[in-house]
């Protein structure tokens, strides 16, 4: 498979946690749909409509296999992680929460896995509790264990932090949550391009991720849910395609997943997501994880060698899944990012949609370098050159 990426080849692109490039193959699949097959799904009586519906539903099957779900009907297509998490928050949690019930998230959540739960808490009279992380950026398991109690209805956690790169093993947490009848929701947005996701092995209840962070197009994502939970969950959008029977006064809905996919779906996006899965499978996670690790190891050892650089989270490369955040003494993160840009290195600087974590780290903003397997050691070294240049300019 051709590994031609569509981001400027002269740019050392180290902002993969924001969005990954797309391979030509993914672009070709989307292009083919728009050029040759642009018809709707699930409705047409003509052959081409059936062909495209088969392709669309084929991707559902492909996603199920990709994350080891046992039934393709557990896969809901959404517009992305934010959409997926909002669906669980407003379609499931809101109707299951009584006043005095509790939800738990961690301090390192992206705003997309925090703000929807704040809203549910406000609407339901429930309470949102925040579990901390330790000095290395790992979830405080002791605090979490204490926090989970008979009032807990939802625990929602990032599998990999988009700022610190730390990974959380969901299996023990799922077990604790299930003991008291709570559901565990996993934000896998930052994980999916870097490690395999096995929903059965983790035994989690909902999983959300986005296509554009896994070499696919923007505007498409996935919500996985256990069958019985999706059955209980209410749609939050209503209209065509999701209905069963409609009278002028009422309507009944399709079973999951179609009841969650009102309106014409992002067909091109879903087909592109399928192509992205093919692409990842073609490379293979062992190879992806090996390259990620080499790149992060180089980055960490270079940054650790610079006395004026503070790395956030763990000092060990093993604890950073493709993401390293840092600051340079006396120079604001945005100035570092602008100067890195001037030497052809793209990084993100700012609060990374994680204000509570910034407060926890006692900073306003950090520089984040995030790799994917197509990056090179040379690009990492270019980042280090840029940091030295910033030091010179600010001398």
């Amino acid at each position: 498979m051709k590994v031609l990426m569509t981001i400027d080849n002269h740019l050392a692109y180290l902002d993969n946690a924001s969005t990954t490039p797309v391979p030509q193959y993914v672009v070709d699949v989307i292009d083919h749909y728009y050029h040759c097959e642009k018809v709707n799904v699930h409705r047409g009586m003509y052959k081409l409509a059936n062909v495209v519906t088969q392709q669309y539903e084929g991707v559902r099957q492909k996603v199920a296999k990709f994350i080891n779900a046992d039934d393709k009907n557990q896969i809901v297509f959404t517009s992305g992680t934010t959409d997926s998490l909002n669906m669980v928050a407003f379609g499931y949690a809101l109707s299951h929460l009584q006043p005095d019930d509790e939800m738990i998230v961690s301090v390192l959540e992206h705003h997309s896995n925090l703000v929807p739960w704040q809203q549910v808490a406000a609407k339901s009279g429930g309470r949102l509790r925040i579990v901390k992380v330790d000095g290395k950026g790992h979830l405080d398991q002791k605090q979490l264990t204490k926090m989970i109690n008979r009032h807990t209805k939802v625990v929602s956690l990032a599998m990999v932090s988009n700022v610190l790169g730390t990974y959380t093993d969901m299996r023990p947490i799922a077990q604790k949550a299930h003991e008291i009848g709570a559901v565990l929701v996993v934000d896998a947005a930052q994980a999916v391009a870097h490690m395999p996701i096995d929903v059965q092995k983790m035994n989690v209840d909902f999983v959300a991720f986005s296509g554009h962070k896994m070499f696919g197009p923007t505007g498409v994502g996935v919500l996985y849910g256990k069958s019985e939970l999706l059955e209980e969950m209410n749609p939050v959008r209503f209209g065509g395609e999701m209905i069963d029977q409609v009278t002028s006064r009422s309507a009944t809905f399709q079973p999951a997943p179609l009841k969650f996919e009102a309106g014409t779906p992002n067909i091109a996006g879903v087909l592109g997501l399928g192509a992205a899965i093919d692409y990842i499978n073609g490379i293979g996670y062992p190879s992806i994880m090996g390259t990620d690790h080499l790149l992060v190891e180089r980055l960490m050892s270079e940054l650790n060698g610079l006395k004026f650089v503070t790395i956030y989270g763990s000092p060990s490369a093993d604890d950073h899944k493709a993401v390293v955040s840092f600051n340079v003494e006396g120079i604001h993160a945005h100035d570092i990012a602008t100067i890195l840009d001037s030497v052809g290195v793209a990084v993100r600087a700012g609060h990374h949609c994680a204000h509570p974590l910034m407060d926890f780290l006692r900073t306003e903003s950090v520089v984040r370098a995030s790799v994917s397997f197509q990056n090179t050691i040379k690009e990492i070294d270019q980042l280090v050159v840029g940091i030295q240049k910033a030091r010179e300019i600010f001398k």
Binding site: G330, I331, H332, A333, H334, D335, T338, I339, D341, S342, G344, A349, G350, H351, M358, E364, S365, K389, I393, F394
Partner: protein
């Protein structure tokens, strides 16, 4: 990409490292905080306006060198100016950031931010402190029964 030193000129670095008129005023007539929600940069300006003159203008803030230096140089530029003069200078500064021709030479060292137009992602950093002061002038206008509006 333009030479990065065009952006990070010595004068900007010096003001960022050693800002002028930094710190709260004890009894300001006006306090205004502006925040850039995308990056978290904040500037709070403290202003004393005597009759219609910028008697005192201090600031505190958190953020990048561009936003902090721009605030520092702005205080040098606007102190002792009348509200009318300051209003004109703010409009001139807005034009400068847009790369338009400016007519007055009174912007002082603030003209250094004319280079920002080559770095479009950083224009809002340079503009932050000036937005805060334009809000103060609008508020001053309200209190003194005049309608002053800046296009933002």
């Amino acid at each position: 990409m333009s030479d990065i030193r065009q952006l990070y000129q010595r004068i900007i670095i010096d003001h960022a490292n050693y800002p002028h008129h930094y710190g709260k005023l004890a009894c300001p007539d006006f306090v205004r905080t502006c925040r850039n929600p995308d990056c978290g940069d904040t500037i709070t300006v403290f202003v004393s306006i005597d009759t219609d003159c910028f008697n005192e203008l201090n600031f505190v803030g958190d953020g990048c060198a561009i936003s902090q230096a721009s605030a520092s140089i702005m205080t040098d530029t606007l102190i002792d100016k009348t509200v009318a003069e300051a209003t004109q200078l703010i409009q001139e500064f807005q034009k400068l950031l847009l790369g338009q021709h400016i007519t007055t030479g009174d912007l002082g060292d603030s003209v250094v931010f004319g280079k920002l137009k080559q770095f479009p992602t950083r224009v809002r950093c340079g503009a932050l402190a000036w937005h805060a002061v334009s809000d103060v002038i609008e508020e001053w206008g309200k209190r003194s029964g005049q309608q002053i509006n800046f296009s933002k």
